[in-house]
Every structure is written in C-alpha cells, then in structure tokens.
Symmetry: C2
Subunit: 444 residues, 2 copies
C-alpha cells in the first residue's frame, strides 16, 4: 500500500516532511574496497583489469580481447530487427537535435574602461561512458550519455561495459555504434572507472566520466573526481505525477509504474485533488501489476515508497510540495500545465500536459533522461553538452585600461599582503615596487 | 633552482611528461577523520560545532554567538580606510558586471514533429561559502565566491569562516557585506561543511557549497557531494607565462612570483624562445626575492616547482605544451596574444598581451579567480553563475506529436523489457497494452 497523505490533515506538514526526506537508498560503505581496486588498477594496469574481470564477471580476458572488435559491433547491428534499429536512429536524431540547442555560446566584449574580456567554451579531449551490465539492458542510456559528448565536439569517446559470463547485449553495442562511440572495453565496476580515469596499457585515460552504475561504480566516480570530471551520482529513479480527475486512471497508473518498475527503491508519487480519482488510480495500478512482467519490482516500489497526496487546490498547493520533493521526473497532466510549471522551481525534467508520458522522454523526446535524483534537482541539472565542455575566461587590458583599474588591484594586493601580486601591476604602471607596503598598517 | 627544459634536447618529451604529471600536493588521507566529524555534526548539531571549534580554533562559542552579529560587520567596515573600501567596491562592481554576461538563457522551441521542448535555468535557493581562516586573508575570494551566487539570483547566502583564537579579519567581514552575504558563522573545517550541507539548529542547510580550504575541507566537500552541489576541489595555484624577449624581465619575474608567493607547492612556469631573456628573468626573480615579504614561500615554490622551458618557435610550439599542462592561469605576453590563444584548448583563465598581469585578474578584471588547478582545466571551468543555478528540461507533446514519435518509444521500451514504460505511451496512442511484448524475441 502506498502512503496516503492529505493536505487537509492536521499532521500533514510533519508527515510530508518525513516523507520528503526519507533516505531510500542509504549509501553502502564500500569506500575502502573501491580505494583498493583503484590503487591496484593504477599500479598493475591491464593485469588488474584482467584479474578483477575474472573474479567479478567470470570472464577470461587478455590485453588483446579487452576491447570489443569492430566485427562484433557490426554483427550485433545485423542481429537487430529493422523496427528496433529505426527506433534507435530516430531517438539518436532527436536527442542530438535537442542537445544542439544546449551548446553554449562563447562571448567577448569590451567594457567602459576599455578592458576586453569574455569566455570561450571548448569540448574536453576525451570522454568515458560507463554502461552497467547485468539484467538491465538500456541502449537508450548509451545514446543519452554518448550523444551530448558528440554534440559537444568530443573527439574520443570510450565506453566500458561489464560482460558477466562473457555476455554483452547487441542492443548496447548497436546503440554505441549509432552514437559514434570510438572504443568499447569489456570491463565494469570500480576497475572500469579507474581505467578510464588513470589509463592502463590498453585504455587511454579520459577527461570526463559519465554513466550510471552500482554502489561501487558510484563510489569510484566520487574518488576519481578531480582527476577527471564526473556527472552527478545517480540514485534510484522517481516520478511525481500531478493529475486532475480528467485523465484516464489507467494511463496515470502506467505513468507511476513506469518508474516503479525500474527498482524496488524507485519512487512513484501522485498528487491529485480528487479522492475518487486517487482511488481509481490505485485500483488501476493493482490491475496493471497483475500482468506486468516486472511486477515484483514495481509492486515492491509502489508498496514501500509510493505515495498518493490529496490536496484541495491543485494549482495553488502543488508548487510548494513539488519543490520540497525536487523530483527527477515531474509530469503535469492538467489543462494549463505551462502555468503550473511556472509555480515550480525544482525538478529535473518536466513533462507537460496529458499527452506527454514520461516514458516518451526516456527514449525519443529529445531532452536527456540522465537526471538528478534524490532531491538533487534543487541544485543539479540533467546531463548535457556542458558536462563535456569547459569554459576558459579571457582578459585583455590595454595600457590605458590597466591605468584605470590597476591601482585598485595594487591596493587589494597590499591589503592581502601579496607583494608580488602588487609588484606585477605596479611595475607595469611605472610605479616602483614598495616592498614594505604590505607591512604598513595604514594600507588597510 | 627552477627546472630548465629545452625543446631541442633529445630527452625533452620524456622530461616534459614527467614535469607535467608530477603530483605537487598528494591528497592527505583524512577521509576517516572527516567522516567522523560529519557524522558528529549530523547527530549533535550546534553542540558538535561548539565543541569542535573549542578544540580546533581555541574559541568558545554558544548557539547565540555562532553567528557574527550585524554590529561586528558594521564596525569592521568602519575600521577600513577609504582607499581599500573603494577598491573592494570597484572590484565588486566589475566582478558582478562580468558575471552578468555569463547568465545562461532559457530556451523553448517546437520541432518539425510539433513537439515543444526546451530548458529553463533557475537559481538554487541557498548557497554556502567557505572562507579559510589563518594567516591568509583573501577578501577578494569572498567577492569571487559570493558575487556569482548573487548574480545567479540566489536568495540566501551563508558564509562560514574559522576564527582561530577568536580572531576574524575586518577585510573578510567587509567583503562579505559588500557582496551581500546574508549570514556569517564562526566555524571552519569539515564541521563547517557538514553544517552547511546538513544543517544544525542554528545553521539552515544550503544547496551548493563553494570556496577553498585545507585537506579536511576539500575531503568534506567530496563527502557531502550529492547531498549538495560543490565547486571543484582546489589544489595549489599555478601560472604559466609565455613571453618573448620584448618584455621587461622584472615584470615577467613578478608575474611568476605572484603565484609562487601563494604556497610552497604553487607552480610558476615560463615558456620563452630566448635563452638570454630566460636568464634575465631568472636573475630578476632572485632580485625580487631579496625584498619580497613572502620570500620564503615564493623561493621554495620557485626552487622546487618552478620551470623555465626554452622553445625554438614560440608561436608554433606553445599550444601543445600549454594543453599538456592545462594551467590554472595562462599569461600570453606577446604581440599577437589573441592568435596564440587560438592555438590553445586547455587553460582556466587566459591573460592576453603585455599589459594584463594575472594579478589584475585576481582582483578587479571581472572574470572569476576561482579556477581549476592541477590540470583540471582539461575538463573543468572556473567558478561561475551556473554553479549556483540548475537547468530543468521541458517536454510537451501534442496529441499529434505523440502519434508521430510515440510508436518508437514503445518499440524501445519493449526492447528494454520495460512494459509499464511501453503501456504509458501505448495507452495514450489508443493501443491495448501488450503485456507479453517484452518476452517476445521478435521484439528485438
């Protein structure tokens, strides 16, 4: 049974706070294990990857077979039916088109002091993409991680994917091929992250690592942060559906289950203003579950983490509640969804209106489906092209410009006791270095 | 003596690689200590802050005196001389103006399929700024961290600063006041980061934490990453000066020392094409050092981490070398600095021409002085307004738009075995749910 909250209840504020801040997936303490794995890969290179892959994935590799050969990728593509291939290609085209709109512009301008300044955006040289192995096979995630890097202009894109018992899904290889991934390595876990961050004999290091993974992968990304850039640490998925009674309960139930079916600790929440509609959605969820292939996962998520929140005024009350939850996915199945969206600050991705299921955004909408979870939408954005780019600032003083602003720099350098800073400006202004300036209390 | 490299030497490639990848400040292993401090602050709140501040900063606080009162801030401002105040205000105005140019635009567009999409940038609700205590007093860093948050539109800005033996510098309080910091707390170290991330009875939690600090602060930021957003992990400062022989050696020497004086593990590097000029710069460094107040620090940095790299062709060879070092600060003291900058991809901030000392950028140029160090400019940007903002994506399908792109979403959901995803789209398309689709191998 999902949690039932009613904003008219006396203890609502308290119960809602407890619900909003409950930790669904406490971080496992794998820091020491991960530290040892990273140290081993740094010290032993390929040999460590081969040994750890034997141990964790029951797969025998050599330095020569670490990388998936081009022939396997071609064979994978041929094994797929045309409909699936065309859907992947449509998705890739639409994702690329959307991400083109995100590419930031460089700027340069000259201010009133005659100082020219600005910034320049450029891609990183190489990006690494982690793809999880195991039962979940998500070619859409390969597209969502690789294509922003390609659109950013990244020249080299390396992917790692564990191949438990030697198995690798043709959908994964094909999505990588469509997205323009340059290299694919059969390695997973913290060892894959270490290889991408520090390099081995076979795997050249990259500059940014993105992609979802288990607790070991997440901790490894945290530990290599600084050596490389990383995307945010992904937690279990979540959806918040805001619906009036004008929707089909079976449709809204499917929306809720589309996240619940990901993970027993995924979260699906409904906010509605109609108690009868809420009851009908709950019944529809139960009905879907009877025939849903992933019913065990979805039922566990719905029972333990699901919630139905009844409010009096959907338009007036929703904004505050949504911002407290800062959901990864927010669906607004109401008439004036745009106006309702304007009352909300924190959500990873917003799906507007009655004809925009979150699932369409998972595959072919265009915006990225790698999104901040666990209330990180308060401060984090979904994956985008700027995760694969960096900004250099530019400053160019003319002689006159330095005359205008340089003296203040000397004053502040003196106040901070940084005499070489002051000298580098003062000498250009034709002033003698005043080596005792900073020890002069009057300089304060 | 700084390292001397010559690009014409046979072993140059090898020696340059060793130089470029040398680790100047190996991370101290303080993870466990920091974990304990964070756990204590989460469990005990203010009481932990008070106890740890007594222990580390020899300062006796109560819940009432944790926060610096407005009266102290006013008194600090009054204690400064007018010239320093005016310089701080000029700096604040110029920093704000530059960062206004960085504010990203929201976008919305409708594509050929009739699907409306885009993204929306909004500020985070609250930001936390860490300011180091101790001997280094850098009001400029207060401005550089706080003003981008203000320009981003952040409503609440909380600052923490340790007050060893009860001391807090009036320059720090005044810079915070000028920058519009709303709350200042007398606490430092990992305990300050924990308080900002998780909150205590007195300190409300924030969404993003920025600002430099020692190894404990850096590790604490790493550990709370995910709970809040953080800026990059700052290492010791560095400058790379590219200079032809037309500059005054004393000026270029001051540029080099302006970073060397920060830290014994700071790094100053000169690339030039003139051996005689290189020798004159080296002599000028020695001469400056004789009268430099921070000569011990600067001399240690220059001797152990400084370098002079002699090349044959300054314009042709510089780009590759700079990109390998990916310096925090890059000064191009040559005639056509703009053309030279076009050959370079990786640098945090670029100072162009003969009249743009890096130090002017530290204070009053406009661009941020919080920049990626330790080769992080390969993938990271300096601090900017987007560090205090986040992007929500938007998607709005019309009924016709969903008819066009929905079927491909169903195909991909089926291929991934996510039946509730498929249903949420198929039901809207008027298709019956096909609960056995995902188990059908032909769906591949």
């Amino acid at each position: 049974m999902p949690l039932k909250l009613n904003s008219r209840d006396a203890n609502f504020t308290e119960r809602f706070r407890a619900f909003a801040t409950a930790e669904r997936a406490p971080a496992a303490d794998v820091a020491d294990t991960v530290r040892r794995i990273i140290a081993r890969v740094r010290a032993e290179g390929d040999a460590a990857l081969i040994d750890l892959t034997r141990q964790f994935d029951r797969t025998e590799l050599t330095a020569e077979t670490l990388r998936v050969p081009q022939g396997d990728i071609r064979a994978a593509r041929k094994s797929l039916n045309r409909k699936t291939l065309e859907a992947l290609e449509l998705a890739a085209d639409r994702i690329s088109a959307f991400h083109e709109s995100e590419v930031p512009k460089s700027r340069r301008f000259t201010d009133a002091a005659g100082v020219s300044m600005g910034f320049r955006w450029l891609p990183v040289d190489a990006a690494g993409l982690y793809v999880p192995g195991g039962t979940a096979v998500y070619p859409s995630s390969v597209l969502m991680n690789a294509l922003p890097a390609k659109v950013a202009g990244v020249k080299r894109l390396a992917m790692t994917v564990p191949t438990p018992d030697g198995h690798i899904d043709p959908l994964i290889l094909t999505a990588a091929d469509i997205a323009g991934v340059d290299e694919i390595y059969r390695v997973g876990g913290a060892q894959a992250i270490a290889a991408l961050a520090f390099g081995t004999e076979t795997v050249a290091p990259v500059d940014v690592i993105t992609g979802p993974g288990n607790a070991y992968v997440a901790e490894a990304k945290r530990q290599v942060f600084g050596q490389v850039g990383i995307d945010s640490i992904a937690g279990p998925s979540e959806i918040l559906v805001v619906s009036d009674k004008a929707n089909d309960p079976a449709v809204i139930a499917a929306d809720l289950l589309s996240q619940a079916e990901h993970d027993p600790v995924a979260q699906a929440v409904l906010i509605t203003d109609d108690a009868d509609f809420a009851a009908r959605v709950e019944a529809a969820v139960a009905e879907h579950l009877e025939t849903l292939p992933r019913r065990d996962i979805a039922a566990a998520s719905w029972a333990q983490w699901g919630a139905i929140i009844l409010v009096e005024d959907l338009i007036a009350e929703t904004g505050t509640l949504v911002d407290r939850l800062a959901p990864e996915h927010l669906a607004l199945a109401v008439d004036d969804a745009e106006a309702l969206a304007d009352t909300i600050a924190h959500a990873g991705a917003i799906f507007l209106g009655r004809h925009t299921p979150e699932a369409v955004g998972d595959y072919v909408g265009g915006p990225n489906h790698v999104l901040p979870t666990g209330r990180q939408a308060r401060f984090a954005s979904g994956l985008g092209v700027t995760d694969f780019m960096k900004r250099s600032t530019m400053l160019h003083c003319s002689r006159d410009g330095l005359d205008l602003i340089g003296p203040a720099a000397v004053t502040l350098a003196d106040a901070e006791g940084l005499d070489a800073h002051a000298r580098s400006v003062a000498l250009r202004l034709g002033q003698a270095p005043a080596s005792d300036r900073s020890s002069d209390p009057a300089a304060r």
